[in-house]
Structure formats: C-alpha cells, structure tokens
Assembly symmetry: C2
Homo-oligomer: 205 residues x 2
C-alpha cells in the first residue's frame, strides 16, 4: 500500500475541506496517509510575505472566500470566516505534532471544524484542551508536552522539510516518487497518481 503524505496548515482555508475529504478518498483507493501539519509562515516569509496572500492581494482573497463558500456548500460543510484571519496556528500545530500518529487525523479535523465551522479561536489553549478531550486525550499533559523543546524542534524540522520539498502552499499531497499536488482540488489526482505509481513499481519488481 503506497503511503502519501498529507501536508496541512491550520490557518489555511482550503486545508479545511481537504482535511474533511481526504480519509475517505484515500481509503477508496487503498492509499495510506501520513498527516503532516506544518507552518506556512516561514515559507511565506521566504517569499517576502508577512501576511496571508489572501489578505495581501484582495482580488485573490475575495475570490478565495467565494470559491470556498461554493466548495463547502457542495460538500455540506458549514463555513464561517475566522476572525481574525488568518488564525495563529502555532500552538495547534505543536499540539497536533505531539500526539500519537493514530490520534493526529481526528485532532486535525477537530481543529478545522472548530475554526471554520464554529468560528472558535484555535490559538486559545482552552479551545485546544476541549478538542483534545473530545478525542479522548487528557489535555494538560499533552499541552505541556506540546511546548517542550523537543516538540518545538520537531515542528521546525517538519516545516523545514515542507520548504525543502518545495511546497507552494497548503494543503499538499506528496507521493513516494517525489510528486507534489497542491490544493483541495488536487487530492483525487494525487491519490490516483500514488496508486498508479505503486502499481507500476510492483510490475517492474
């Protein structure tokens, strides 16, 4: 079973529908997923952006909100605009990384739901504690572990890997053969690619 990495950023709007869709799409195709929360901030800073490009470039921003509204509407996903936008996603990303692999997908979805369906502040430890409790994790020890040096370093390393892979934004899929697929609208294509490539690898061996 090929493993695809799913790169998401909690402040990223298109990561919301992607996070809600990806598991079913991958399961249908027999593709395994590794969730890779990371931070877009350092990647954007390297391009000279100190804010979301959707704020810096109003035509892109206006289009994105309407596009996202249509996408969520078609999927039956509630959508509220986080205020402020973008949300500070640092603590949420640290918490996601501090979790066991098996718990990460449910926590990530819970963060996106809180942020984009319920308008809750995802930089608040109280919000994150409630989401951890929701997925059956004792909040206090995990929130402590999230801000330990080793976990902070792990998030930095994960973000550095995202930059090294050349991710242009979020969400992205990366495949074992080094392809990058960017956007909620590339999930199907990326998973199909991974499956087709795994099949052709198998034929060659």
């Amino acid at each position: 079973m090929p493993e695809v990495e799913f790169w998401c950023e909690f402040a990223s709007t298109y990561s919301y529908p992607a996070a809600m869709r990806i598991e079913a799409l991958a399961a249908t195709r027999g593709v395994a997923l590794a969730w890779r929360p990371f931070l877009l901030g350092p990647l954007f800073a390297a391009q000279g952006w100190s804010d979301s490009p959707f704020n810096l470039y109003p035509a892109k921003g206006r289009y994105m909100w309407r596009d996202l509204e249509r996408i969520c509407g078609a999927l039956g996903l509630p959508l509220v605009r986080p205020d402020p936008f973008p949300q500070n996603s640092l603590l949420a990303a640290r918490v996601a990384l501090a979790l066991d692999d098996a718990l990460r997908p449910a926590f990530c979805r819970a963060v996106y739901r809180a942020e984009f369906a319920e308008g809750r502040p995802i930089d608040s430890p109280a919000t994150l504690a409630a989401l951890l409790a929701e997925i059956g994790v004792a909040p206090e020890p995990l929130l402590r572990r999230a801000v330990e040096d080793a976990n902070k370093a792990a998030l930095k390393a994960q973000t550095a890997r995202a930059a090294a892979l050349g991710l242009p934004g979020a969400p992205c899929l990366t495949t074992p053969d080094g392809e990058v697929f960017w956007g909620n609208d590339r999930l199907e294509q990326g998973l199909d690619w991974a499956r087709a490539h795994a099949a052709s690898e198998k034929e060659r061996t």
Copy 2:
C-alpha cells in the same frame, strides 16, 4: 441556453489546456461561450507585480510547470516552455479582439498551440500572420485593423471589465448570475453552475 464568458490571456499557462478543453465541455452541457481575451498585466500591476507571479515566486513557478506538465500529459497535449516566459501577449490579444466573434475561438487555440506546443514567439507579426492564414483570414488587413485606435480601446475596455469583475487571474469563467470560476480546474464546475442556474431561472418564470 445560458452564455458563459471565457476569459483567457495568451501569456497564461493554465489558459492553454483550458482553451483546448472548453468548447467540448460547454457543448456537452448545452452552454454557449463568449471568448474574452484580455491582458493580465494591468491587473497584476495593480497588485504590485511587474512580472508573472510564477517568476516572482519561484516555489509557485516550479510547482506550476510540473503541474502543467502532468495536466497536458493526461490530455495528450504537447508542452514546451515559452522562451522568454511570459510571452508578450499584447499584439495577439489585439488581433484576437479584431476578429469576428465566430473566428475568435479558432484563432485563440491556434495562438496557444503555437506558443505552448511549438514554442513559437507569439509577439511576432509573422507568427500571427501565419496563424490567421491557417484559419482562413487574410493577415494583412486584420493586422492593420488590430492596431487601430478603436481596437486598442476595445482591448483596454475588455481588460478594465476583467478588473471590475474581480478576476484574480486567468483563465476564468464568468456566469450570467455574476459568479467567477478561476482556473483550468474550475471549467466543469463553472459550466455546471451556469446550466443549473439557467434551469432554476426557468423554473421560476
């Protein structure tokens, strides 16, 4: 039959597969198309960009070329990288606008093919003359008409309308009810939207 406007820019990479796909997609859905060549330069300049964002932001650029390669590969469309990129599209856009409506789609496709499949310079009057001849139009009178004041003004007005509609890039579809769909990957969605909206308009009347 609802009419959708198809906004394309000859320097735009994703406009190439879109221009090649759009007619069949629209015909299947019973949607009429109006081709609207325009210039992205003034819209980009208003955002502070003096070059293609794919040149200004290398991570985006590298991703786009690989993404386009995969898209064209899947469609069986040849792809060469125009040199220089982006091509100066001013004269081609003027020529496209100077043509009769009925001849514009074939000319637009010919320009994209010359540029992205054959690597020919689309700012060259000789290239454009050859493409006009290909679609059965006498080149010289048309090239003269293209640079007359009235036609130059018409292209300026078309580009101003693109800006007023809030187009964030190219290609775009705009629908009679004011929706904008951006990207080669939104063609199906935009056409489906136009058809569904026209159907519901009809039900109400």
